[in-house]
């Protein structure tokens, strides 16, 4: 019969039936069920296997602290390993598999480990598997790895999308139980911006799980209705606050679509909210703690409060005949509620000799459960009675209650530690809470409903300076918690059920000297499972304290770290994945280049044309060689918009550039451009570029593409922090201008067809390194710089970005008569190497002006950033690396950037390393590969023959050290 353990009542919608599958078998449940409650309703207790011993396991809890009932949810690319059945909302068509078992959940071959548990005690692996050394990777580890782990990933890209969002509030209330709801009412009615977040899909907390807490039945619904009507209150159910970060920033994950079969189109699966809260009130409630006894981990044995939740909220009983083992009154609530739903209560075993008696069921006063039986599910428990006699109690489920622990988790996220409360025999929030956070209700050790309601209202009223809302009449039972952690003499009594840490393991840990709480945790793995020890840490701590003869707080306190519950990595990544990982920057000629079939390459966040293949070109080298040759022969055009551009203005602009560049700029004439080398204060080259002087008080500075942001930041530092009284203003104009290099002997002729006739750009009127404002194409404002990266006669022309596309097309049209050729970054690189210009590979953050062959540029006549520290001996050694050119002896040989230079015939090892190759390319101009590199004392070694080795790419070639200026060393072309 289906749902044979379904009982009356509950918060489920019986009108609707949902079908779902677990391990290939189909079942039915209702909206409002979790996977666990629906399985229990169908009389399924066995839901998982433990990590180490593969013991059969059923749910221990009804919430997010669950260690046992974790499954692989969904299928295909959406497979979610380690999903708690106790919080997974049931939806129609839900698919779940048990995990960490083979071949099946009912029969798990790995359960053999349980037989050998005596050998597999805490830390056994540290003591063996050492010989022979090689066997670890080859034999032992593969076996261990295969056995380890829990659920499995689909190995396919997560198909769902995740959002990130930002919200602000005066008060963030974490937990929508009695305390949280009253706090929200209080602050909400007071007109404050309130966010009330709860991990559950139903607001109400214990009010949904318990009976008879309130005198008026409909208070909860009325309250939720009022809160939803308040515009200044945002109710966020299915939202887990995962962490309390600095200055009132909270991370919260909203599960938007996890209760659906698949997310709706365009909607995210989850949202990571960054909540900026002026203050926060933690109302996270409490977690019940178990009592350890022999074989206390069988399916059917669960926390007493969880039993109540399943029966009251989900109308599902774990079995038809249930017993209770408790050391406090809460256990009796379970018995009463079970009775009310017509479930047979086998007995209440109460450790207290003076436990209250009941007419409706048997109470075994002073009794203790000492063992349990039932292979895949509980059949009966062994009870030791007050008089020492033994008896068995037949039952399919056992509710265990050892009292309650306040959920102090988030109070520890800024490393504040909880304090021990003897009255409650539990840790309560300590003095050092995250700034702005307060705690109310059970989370603060106030366990009665009345106490929770009023403490929530009072706290919110005090924090917000408003009037406290009036609490409804509610139960106000006094709290009596006497610690009872484990049953005397037990050994295989589980503390951490998922990681299989037993009382025996804690004892061994103590015996071997691992006694601090951190050693205990790390040696036994106690509390390191997916539940992070929410139900187990206290027990382990208490037992360690007893063994060490210390009080619990002396042994140490467990420190909680974010996240509160395990959080999908996907939601922390949000939309920043795939092509959206980083923003993409497109150059003004991008769309034109795309039409031309350009191949693009990522340069930082930019996409740049790498080369422009023509029909028939089958290898990139063909395209690049053609682009280089055509440019050197006639004219080529390259989009160099990506170079950083910084507008520098002010009466001290020149003085300012004198500080940031190691070479001088004060005397640069208006209408002229100069190359500048920028050093870091530590004397190492930071960046290079050109500065064109458009007016006495106006420069346009260019930076390398990679360093644009860094250089701007550095210049602002120099301006604001070092020379605050300089009259200089900076602003980036990188993207405002489309800038194209027009290079080659015919570049002037081409530009003369574009530049308005009023502007004379002849060699006389506009010589090498000239710059100025011009107009093109009938009056469009533009800038022209006569600078050359290629070594050819060349210009860089800039127009407002929106006209860049049209200008490029115009250049191509006007250039037809010169066979104008667009070239990409590869040809650009080849030509700059042929010319010996340093670029990113040479400016690698470790090279000095001296290394770059620009030692003399560092002006001694003035102070500039980096000039002083560049004088240190280590940066001026006699055999300092100097930039050189490298040519293979045999033109057919390859040269590899990253290869190292060795003496011909000398030993090939690090001790004899002479230098390295920074850049290499095939030069169609020289007909062989060429390279730039740094060579010890390179300045004096031109003509030397050396060996270039690159063992990692299996290359050894003989090379000649030559001048780095392969093409036009005298620089005649650029001045032509």
């Amino acid at each position: 019969m289906t749902q044979k353990n379904r009982v009356s009542g509950g918060l489920i919608d019986r009108a609707t039936t949902l079908k779902f599958m677990f391990d290939g078998k189909s079942y039915e449940g209702h909206p409002g069920d979790t996977l666990a409650s629906a399985l229990l309703a169908n009389n399924v207790r066995l839901m998982g296997r433990s990590f180490k011993y593969h013991r059969p396991r059923g749910p221990l809890t009804a919430g997010s602290e669950e260690p046992n009932a974790i499954v692989e949810l969904r299928g295909g690319a959406r497979q979610e390993p380690n999903t708690r059945a106790t919080t997974a909302e049931l939806y129609n068509g839900l698919l779940a598999k048990s995990q960490n078992r083979w071949p099946s959940l009912a029969f798990d071959a790995m359960a053999i480990n349980d037989r050998f548990s005596n050998f597999l005690t805490a830390g056994f692996y540290y003591k063996t598997f050492m010989w022979p050394a090689a066997f670890w990777e080859k034999l032992y580890e593969p076996i261990i790895r295969k056995a380890a782990g829990l659920g499995s990933l689909s190995m396919r890209a997560d198909p769902d999308a995740y959002d990130k969002g930002f919200r602000h509030c005066d008060l963030l209330i974490i937990g929508a139980g009695p305390a949280g709801l009253m706090a929200a009412l209080t602050a909400g009615r007071g007109g404050k911006e309130v966010i009330l977040a709860d991990e559950d899909f139903a607001l109400g907390g214990r009010l949904n799980a318990e009976t008879g807490l309130l005198e008026t039945g409909d208070w909860l619904n009325a309250t939720i209705a009022e809160l939803s009507s308040l515009p200044n209150v945002r109710l966020m159910s299915r939202t887990t606050v995962i962490g309390a970060f600095d200055h009132g920033i909270y991370g919260a994950v909203e599960r938007v679509s996890d209760h659906l079969h698949t997310p709706d189109v365009g909607k995210p699966r989850q949202i990571l909210w960054r909540i900026y809260a002026k203050q926060s009130l933690l109302c996270a409630g409490a977690t019940e703690r178990p009592i350890a006894f022999e074989n206390n981990d069988r399916p059917g044995i669960m926390l007493a409060g969880a039993v109540r939740t399943y029966v009251n909220r989900y109308a599902a009983t774990p079995a038809q005949r249930v017993a209770v083992f408790t050391n406090n009154d809460d256990g009796h609530r379970t018995a009463v509620d079970l009775q009310a739903r017509g479930v047979k209560v086998a007995a209440v075993i109460d450790t207290r000799a003076d436990a209250p008696l009941a007419d409706a069921y048997e109470v075994i006063r002073g009794g203790q459960v000492v063992d349990s039986k039932g292979r895949r599910g509980l059949t009966f428990v062994e009870v030791k009675q007050a008089d020492g006699s033994m008896r068995t109690v037949e039952c399919g489920a056992l509710g265990v209650s050892g009292g309650w622990n306040p959920n102090v988790h988030l109070t520890c996220h800024q490393r504040g530690r909880p304090t021990w409360d003897d009255g409650l025999a539990a840790f309560v929030p300590g003095g050092e809470l995250p700034p702005g956070m307060q705690v109310a209700g059970a989370a603060n050790g106030v366990f009665s409903t009345h106490g929770a309601l009023t403490s929530g209202a009072k706290a919110a009223a005090k924090m917000m300076g408003v009037k406290a809302a009036k609490a409804p009449k509610a139960e106000d039972a006094p709290v009596s918690q006497t610690p009872f952690w484990y049953v005397e003499g037990c050994s295989r009594a589980w503390l951490d059920q998922q990681n299989d840490v037993t009382v025996k393991d804690v004892k061994l840990s103590h015996q071997e000297g691992f006694r601090s709480v951190e050693h205990l945790k790390r040696y036994t793995t106690l509390g390191m499972a997916t539940d992070q020890g929410k139900t187990s840490n206290m027990g382990g701590l208490a037992i360690m304290a007893e063994l060490a003869g210390k009080a619990i707080p002396e042994v140490g306190t467990t420190i909680f770290r974010p996240p509160y519950t395990p959080t999908a990595i996907g939601v922390l990544g949000g939309r920043m994945r795939g092509m959206e990982f980083h923003p993409t920057r497109l150059t003004p000629s991008h769309f034109w280049a795309k039409e031309r079939g350009a191949v693009f390459v990522e340069v930082g966040n930019w996409l740049r044309a790498q080369w422009f293949p023509l029909p028939g070109e089958t290898h990139w080298r063909q395209s690049v060689d053609r682009e280089v040759t055509a440019t050197r022969a006639s004219v080529g055009v390259c989009d160099c918009t990506t170079l950083g551009k910084i507008d520098v203005q002010g009466t001290d602009a020149a003085a300012f550039l004198n500080k940031v560049y190691c070479n001088g700029f004060a005397k640069l004439a208006v209408g002229k451009t100069r190359y500048g080398l920028m050093l870091r204060e530590d004397g190492i080259a930071m960046d290079d570029g050109t500065a064109g002087r458009l007016a006495e008080d106006h420069f346009v500075v260019t930076t390398t593409t990679a360093n644009a942001a860094k250089v701007y930041q550095h210049m602002e530092f120099v301006r604001q922090c070092l020379f605050p009284d300089m009259d200089v203003q900076l602003i980036s104009t990188t993207e405002a201008w489309a800038q194209y290099a027009v290079a080659g002997p015919n570049s002037r002729r081409l530009l003369q067809k574009i530049v308005d006739a009023v502007h004379d750009i002849s060699n006389e009127a506009f010589p090498f390194m000239a710059c100025g404002n011009i107009t093109v194409c009938g009056g469009l404002r533009a800038r022209l710089f006569r600078i050359s990266f290629s070594g050819e006669l060349a210009f860089e022309i800039a127009v407002p970005a929106r006209y860049g596309d049209a200008l490029m097309r115009r250049l191509m049209a006007a250039g037809e008569e010169f066979d104008v050729t667009p070239y990409g970054t590869e040809a650009l690189g080849v030509m700059r190497i042929e010319k010996g210009h340093a670029a990113g590979n040479e400016l690698n953050g470790t090279t000095t002006a001296l290394n770059l062959g620009m030692g003399r540029m560092v002006s001694k006549a003035k102070d500039s950033i980096g000039s002083k520290l560049s004088e240190r001996p280590g940066l001026n050694a006699a055999d300092a690396l100097m930039q050189v050119g490298i040519k293979p002896r045999d033109p057919g040989d390859k040269i590899t950037a990253g290869g190292h230079l060795m003496l011909l015939g000398g030993p090939v090892d690090a001790a004899h390393d002479q230098g390295y190759v920074t850049s290499a390319a095939f030069s169609p101009t020289l007909g062989s590969m060429i390279g730039l590199g740094f060579l010890k004392n390179g300045g004096l070694r031109e003509g030397e023959r050396m060996r270039l080795v690159s063992p990692v790419t299996d290359l050894t070639v003989e090379v000649d050290i030559v001048s780095a200026h392969f093409v036009d060393p005298e620089g005649e072309r650029v001045r032509a």
Partner: protein
């Protein structure tokens, strides 16, 4: 005005501005906006402010604020630094116009094509914006102008009417990424 014959393209690469509508919210690419930055020269702060007031017809806005006026609007960018806006058709040479007005009291730089611009108008601005940036939409008022980050892009968010109109300025070269982020958020939130 220049009589050149070069056809401009929009930041998204089209001949005409792009418009996207999801539910009751419309995102419109804006191209008819000329921009120029103004930074007061050292010691000229007061003089600059005075001339700016003359140009704008009102005091230059303070930190976090914008002056939504015509023909010139203004937005605070930094200490003694503003972004001036005007209609592109009539003010393509905005830099020159502003420079003429401020003379030696300020450094003026053309910024027109340094930025792309998107207007959000209609219902649902708040839920969309809270998926994009940390600006507190619940306290945002008309005339607020905040620099913030949208999917790692440094942007300006200018509030015309918190319930009906927001203008987003972002780096022009990343117009595609910014537009994608905005439209994706619209589809997600609305």
């Amino acid at each position: 005005m220049s009589v050149h014959d070069l056809e401009p393209i929009t930041a998204l690469g089209g001949a005409a501005p792009q418009v996207d509508t999801v539910a009751g919210l419309t995102c419109t690419e804006v191209t008819d906006l000329a921009l120029a930055s103004v930074a007061a020269r050292l010691g000229q702060e007061k003089a600059c402010a005075k001339k700016l007031k003359a140009l704008l017809g009102d005091a230059a806005p303070g930190p976090g604020k914008a002056l939504l006026a015509a023909p010139f609007s203004a937005m605070w960018m930094g200490p003694d630094q503003w972004m001036i806006g005007a209609d592109f058709a009539t003010h393509e040479d905005l830099e020159v116009q502003v420079k003429t007005a401020l003379r030696s009291t300020a450094s003026v730089t053309e910024q027109t094509d340094g930025w792309c611009c998107f207007d959000l108008s209609g219902d649902g601005i708040a839920p969309v914006m809270e998926l994009l940036c940390p600006v507190n939409m619940r306290s945002l008022q008309s005339g607020d102008a905040q620099r913030t980050q949208i999917h790692h892009l440094g942007c300006f968010v200018v509030c015309g009417d918190p319930d009906g109109f927001i203008r987003i300025l972002g780096p022009r070269a990343s117009a595609g990424s910014l537009h994608h982020a905005i439209v994706t958020a619209m589809q997600s939130a609305l």
